[in-house]
Structure formats: C-alpha cells, structure tokens
Symmetry: C2
Subunit: 155 residues, 2 copies
Amino acid sequence: MPKPRWLSKDEEEVWFAYILFSRQLAAGMERQLAGSGVSGADYQMLAPLAEAGAAGMRPRDLGHSAGWDRSRLAHQLRRMEQRGLVTREQAEDDARGIVVHLTEAGRAALRAASPGHIEWVRENFLELITPAERRMLVELSERVMAKLEPESRPR
Amino acid sequence: MPKPRWLSKDEEEVWFAYILFSRQLAAGMERQLAGSGVSGADYQMLAPLAEAGAAGMRPRDLGHSAGWDRSRLAHQLRRMEQRGLVTREQAEDDARGIVVHLTEAGRAALRAASPGHIEWVRENFLELITPAERRMLVELSERVMAKLEPESRPR
DNA sequence: GGGCAATTGCTGATGTATCAACAACTTTGC
DNA sequence: GCAAAGTTGTTGATACATCAGCAATTGCCC
C-alpha cells in the first residue's frame, strides 16, 4: 500500500473484504450460468426479452433495463444473433431503429438456464443473509448509488 | 422474469439492488482510476510491486495476492511491460520462473494514481457506511465466500 | 538416478467491456 | 419547410478475462 494517507486497518478490512466478496460472488454466478450454456450478459438480454414476448424489444429499452450503453448492446446482440438466440428486424414506426425478438432457441436457452440460476442465487446469496442484513444492503445500495449516479449513467 | 419458481418481491429487491450497486461501484472506481491513467487491473499489480521494492516479485506471488490465475497474469504483465510500467527478468534460482520489477514509470504511475484512488474509496464507500454496517459487511462476506470458496480459487 | 507428477509461465482463441467516430433518421425551433 | 440538434444503432480499436493446451523445469519417490 502506497504512501499518501493510506487506509486504516479497519477501513482496509472492510474495503478488501467487500472487493473480494463482490468479485467472487460475480465469478461464481458467471460460472454457474456458464454451465447452462449462457453468460450473465446473455441472461440479462434473454430475461427481459422473454417477458416482452411476441412484441419484441427495442435495443434502447433493453439498454435501459440492463443499464448498458448502445455500443455494448450492439456487440452483444450481434453475437447472440450469430448464435441464433435472437433476431433483429427493422422497426415499423422508426426507420432508425430495430426490434429484437427471441428465437425458439433463445427461449429454450433461457428455460434451460433459469431454474439453476435462481436456485444458485437463493443458495449462495439470499439464504445466507438475515432479514436485517437484507434491509441494510438495500439501504446501503441506495445511499452509495445516490452519490455515484451522476456520472455512472450510460450515455 | 421467467416461469419456474422465480424470486419473491422481497428477494428480488435485495438481489437486484445488490447487483446494480456492486456493478456501479466497480464501474465508478474503474472510471476514477482511468482518469489517473491506470486501470483497476494495473493498480492491483502496481501496489504489491511497490511494496516488494527492489526485490521484485514472482508472478506466482502476484497471482496469489490478486487472486488471479497464471494466464490472466501473463497477459496483464505483457501489456504492462509493453507500456513500460514493469520489467520481466529471468529468476536466479529457478529457471522456469521470472521476476517482475516496477520501472521508474511504474512507480510514478502508482504515485500519480494512489491519492485520488484512496480519496475516492473513502468518499464513495467508507464514509457512506456506518460502523454497524461495516461489521455486517465483513461478516456477510465471510459467510458467502465460505460457501463459494471451494470452486472459486484460481487453479 | 530415472521416471513421473506438479509447478511455472506462456500463447491463441473467444467472449466481454469501453471509447471514439460515424451514418441515418427524427424532432425541434424558427 | 429547413437547418440544427438530438436519437438510434453500428463499427473498429483496444483492453480485459477465461479457457484449453503447450513447454520447460523442478521435485518427489522408488
């Protein structure tokens, strides 16, 4: 740890614990999903698309729901289209836009991945934290994000 | 969200709140560091190397301190060597191994990035959580990681 | 001391994430 | 109507992360 006014022992403990925790939890989730043939990124596309049903979704709205910017979305959707999970069609009412639909394979991929994913979330997160901790986490998230928010919204 | 026994409202709230929170905090940290010309990955290499001083470090030990596998390390160190932040030399006592040293530019990069990074961590994390929350976070991290650990250690 | 397993580090392929720049279209304001 | 400004989506470059596989060396064990 470098020189200029580094963190105290206590501060360091919390920060390092949190960093390690958040990375390992994310990695664990990614690994579990990968076992079902989808990535976390895939899942974030598949889930809202399945809810949207036959109407499909505009990338813009997918972007809002996932908190992604347009570029990330375009790359992700291109890869998913190549794998046959989604289709992209010209939007009727806006010549700039497209509409994304799930294919049957996309729906199948989500059906295959969901139960295991949900089970994993319960087992490795929800069931390990007390109601008091749940409340704390929600409040904490709001507090921290309120401070971050200004610069952290996708453009 | 999909059909098979999805999460309850309460569960969903905690999980989504946590996911959003952890991603935005990580993104915010990354953005702050990027403003100083280093990435989070760079920082994780630079900080322990600075502590090691003239002795340098073996990639194996860097890997342990960062929790990375050998491959990720090799790629990262290659990029950092190309940018002139570190050097790689043959280890004296082990013909398989190498020793990584900070260059003067590497030390300068860390000096330039540290104060802002530490300040950011205080401002956007440490100062926003109460002592009780700190304790909870540390305990919660241990509990969750104890369950994850088996499969989540680098090979 | 000879063979075999483990350690150490690298590479190439693929997927993921961000940035800057662009093209096409729509909206707004006059 | 029309020019300026904003929206929507794409691309290419670069960095980051993971996986599988390789090569060299070391250490172990008989």
